[in-house]
């Protein structure tokens, strides 16, 4: 029961961040699944990808009405990203979890600092 409540609440928070920030919510879902639900990195990543699909669709439903989705641009980005995702998710099975976590953390921090610096300059 507690696990189900934690899971629903985790989904809710990840969803709010997804709709708000235009991300899938996987960044929040993965650590929650690992630390609170005791899953392995690889299992958490697989579930994260699955949860992201309906979550992003719910966000699009809201933003489509406000004309905040550029479908033409999305089409070209998706051509590249589907190819990239197929290649890397095939390859990921052979990478150890510890290294994955490190890549994950470093990548996110660099992107965050870059984004903040940009708003301070403007």
């Amino acid at each position: 029961m507690t696990i189900i409540l934690i899971t629903l609440l985790a989904g809710l928070v990840a969803g709010i961040l997804s709709g708000l920030l235009g991300v899938g919510g996987g960044l929040l879902l993965i650590p929650i699944m690992i630390f609170l639900l005791g899953m392995s990195q690889h299992a958490a990543q697989g579930i994260s990808l699955l949860v992201i699909i309906p979550t992003a669709m719910a966000g699009i439903w809201q933003l489509h009405k406000a004309k905040m989705v550029n479908y033409n641009l999305a089409l070209y980005l998706a051509c590249g990203s589907i190819l990239g995702a197929l290649i890397s998710s095939t390859f990921v099975q052979y990478i150890p979890a510890a290294q994955l976590k490190l890549i994950f953390g470093v990548f996110v921090i660099i992107m965050g600092i870059r984004t903040i610096l940009k708003t301070l300059k403007s």
Partner: protein, 118 residues
């Protein structure tokens, strides 16, 4: 044509990271669109979500074939996250671009630090 190639290659980078990390790729798609394609912060977020859907479908098919997909926790999480995404997207429409960008940056740094500490 040059621009289309640039856009497709941005998508490719996001897709690589998506499959590798199990995320949607929005964390890289949004800054790339805003910085290099001149897309406004709000439209970048909406467009990012539209790219995330097919990318996550492609990634989860491969994860599924490798036996790394567990449907029950995914279903439980999705119930909350669908509701949350509707609320978050409604809220986002009301936030000015600069604050939205700052919120985005702070979110990335916090999540990144947490991952490294663990």
């Amino acid at each position: 044509m040059d621009n289309k190639l640039k856009v497709i290659s941005f998508g490719f980078i996001a897709g690589i990271l998506s499959g590798l990390l199990g995320v949607g790729g929005g964390i890289i798609l949004v800054p790339l669109m805003v910085t290099y394609l001149g897309i406004t912060q709000h439209i970048a977020h909406g467009t990012s979500l539209a790219v995330i859907v097919p990318t996550a479908v492609a990634g989860s098919i491969v994860y599924g074939f490798n036996g790394n997909i567990n449907f029950m926790p995914a279903l439980n999480l999705a119930v909350g996250s669908i509701l949350g995404a509707s609320l978050g997207a409604r809220w986002m429409k009301k936030i000015p671009a600069k604050q939205l960008k700052q919120l985005f940056g702070v979110f990335l740094v916090l999540v990144g630090i947490r991952m490294l500490i663990s």
